[in-house]
């Protein structure tokens, strides 16, 4: 019984400090969605890869409240993000902003994609010209031997 009470105590002392699902009331349901989306895209800086929306850390709670206050006072999404970036750096944003330092991150994939396309075109071109080289009879025989393939029809998609 004592263990039971101790457990309860532990439970409540730890949870009263941690509010995960506070009530943030907005007049406009649209704002609620905006708020939800925004805190999902912000990183809890002291956690291991958790968003402000899902974290229970003290810092996350403070920041959630702060974002809420800012939204209530009519600040736009950009203003809030700028404020947080000024304070914590780009690390706070799960969606890396587009700026010279992140060009590789955003345009690198595009270059890679173009490279892939070029490879595809090149291979197709060379293969169109390539001699039609089926397995030679000797090779085919060797394959059969190696595989001990009794029926050897090899018919499948």
């Amino acid at each position: 019984m004592r263990l039971y009470l101790l457990g309860l105590l532990a439970l409540f002392s730890s949870v009263t400090a941690a509010y995960t699902l506070e009530q943030f009331q907005f007049d406009d349901p649209k704002q609620t969605l905006q708020f939800q989306k925004l805190i999902e895209e912000l990183r809890c800086l002291v956690c291991q890869n958790e968003s402000l929306a899902s974290s229970q850390a003290d810092l996350a709670q403070d920041l959630r409240a702060e974002v809420y206050e800012m939204m209530q006072s009519g600040k736009s999404r950009e203003e809030i993000v700028d404020f947080l970036v000024a304070r914590y750096g780009d690390f706070v944003l799960y969606d890396p902003p587009l700026k010279p330092a992140t060009y590789p991150l955003w345009f690198g994939p595009l270059l890679l994609g173009i490279l892939g396309l070029l490879i595809w075109v090149r291979v197709i071109r060379s293969k169109k010209r390539a001699a039609d080289r089926e397995l030679s009879e000797a090779e085919r025989q060797r394959l059969q031997e190696l595989l001990q393939d009794a029926d050897g029809d090899g018919k499948q998609a």
Binding site: S14, T16, L21, E22, N49, F91, W120, I124, E139
Partner: protein, 656 residues
Amino acid sequence: MIPELGHFSLVLALALALIQATVPLIGSFIQRVPWMRQARALAWGQLLFSLIAMGCLLQAFLTDDFSVVYVATNSNSLLPEIYKVSALWGAHEGSLLLWATLLAAWGAAVATFSRNLPLPVVARVLSVMGMVGIGFLLFMLLTSNPFERIFPMPREGRDLNPLLQDPGLALHPPMLYMGYVGFSVAFAFAIAALIGGKLDAAWARWSRPWTTVAWIFLTLGIVLGSWWAYYELGWGGWWFWDPVENASFMPWLAGTALVHSLAVTEKRGAFKSWTVLLALFAFSLSLLGTFLVRSGVLTSVHAFATDPARGTFILVFLCVVIGGSLALYAWRAPAVSGGGRFELLSRESVLLANNLLLSLFTALVLFGTLAPLIYEAMGWGKISVGFPWFNTMFVATMPFLAFLLGVGPLTRWKQDEGERLVKLLWPAFLGASIAAVFGGIFTPLESEHWFLIPLGLGLAVWILIAHMLAIWDRLKHKSGLGALFRDFAGGGRSFYGMVIAHLGVAVFIVGVTLVSHFGIERDVRMSPGDVQEESGYQFHFLGVENHRGPNYMAARGHFQVTRDGELVAELWPEKRSYFTSAKPMTEAAIDWGFLRDLYVSLGEPVGDGDWAVRLYYKPFVRWIWLGGLLMALGGLITLTDRRYRVLAKSAGKRTT
């Protein structure tokens, strides 16, 4: 005493691995049959001693031997037995032991099922696997010994991380590791072929079933992990592009490309050097994945080891394996290129595009995962690359793959006519358009990604109808359902396996599209007796009571969900406080359904007996995992294809 036995077994396994890595290999060059013959016995020996080590560690867990550091840090006398077993691989040292044991098991499997392979090939394959084994055993013995003792012995263990005390996570690592380690077989076959200079269709046929098996396990492992994250972490998500998730996804992507590329190599003798390269990459990414998680270089929920000595070993090991295999590739691969002619419109061409897209996306995931590290190391500032970036990249590349998925199975090898394809595929195009329009009607206009719903539904229907057409095209000269069954029972397993795996992709797309855009999440404050209405369901909150588990205390909420006055489900979400952990754990309660999940997670008491509660309505969320399971099932069916059965039979004849 028993932990020491385990320790010695590891040393013995290492000794055997050293012999296995050298003697058969040398034997294959100087053509000494007895030397090559050693390989099989050595592989079995490695498995034996790895299993003994596993058994010793298990014994330490089951008897609460807290004089073993690993047990003391990952178990507790109150821990339920089942989790004492899974705690074996619950942290760094033990998971390495599991890795090494599974590697030995794959080696023994190769030794057993390779009766019809030429002896030099078997010898080389097992030698390469022995080399990988050396790496892991040395890593364990030098930096991460699971049998290390502590004195004085602590009276109680620190307990297994409560997040891991769950059946889903007990199974997840072995599945995932079976996949990771399984790619070592494809890797070993590739290296053996490079060494021998024989990259032929026979090589592709040998390594194909092994690759498929590994791919199946990896698929199941990822599905399990995602499902676990969904119900255990309590935020209703199933994928976060967390570095650790990416670490398992990259080998999967490369492995998927490999499975397709192997098909071309086996059928047409083309893409040989590319297939080899993919085999090298799939395993390299598996290693990278294992170590990214273990080295602690990444900040993520899963990383539980931070130690520079380990980091250095890992770096050197990765360099040797990846650098060494690529060097060998650069040296030998040009000698084995080749393959036949094919046209722009041909199955080869579509599969090439498939491979390039999968490789491109693998590269992007790798880049996005490592970018924060690169930026920090180069002093370019600290950045986060999170789900918005990955989602953008996913949406920019994968729809093309899904489109090709509909075209590929209907396209002929070597050369096809556009006209024929259009004639065949128009019903799929029509169906996809109708689905897209239908999706568009239900898309809320203010939705930011309005085009994704029509796109997703359209592509899913496209894949579905295209594969129905592929079956029809295949059987058009026969008639009736009987023909379908006869074909399935006969030589068509490989084809039908492919169809089922591809339909899994369609099912997955439907799940992802619908749950991402129509899923609802609400945070509410409820007092006992309150009712909340959500998507036609009424959530009645009856209250919270205390509940005692084996090693935790819980506040357990009670909800009744009704619809039109009828009881749909009773849900008991919990807030658990483990005796050994300060952080409370959320146990969500889920009423699962084929078309929707109702998900309740209990938040915090907010005063006056009220509780903060999170309610989710998740339409079609099960389809995400169902899709993954179908992919795995498809893989399994291809393994029963006649050509493998024929192989097995002829192998049986030989041994008797």
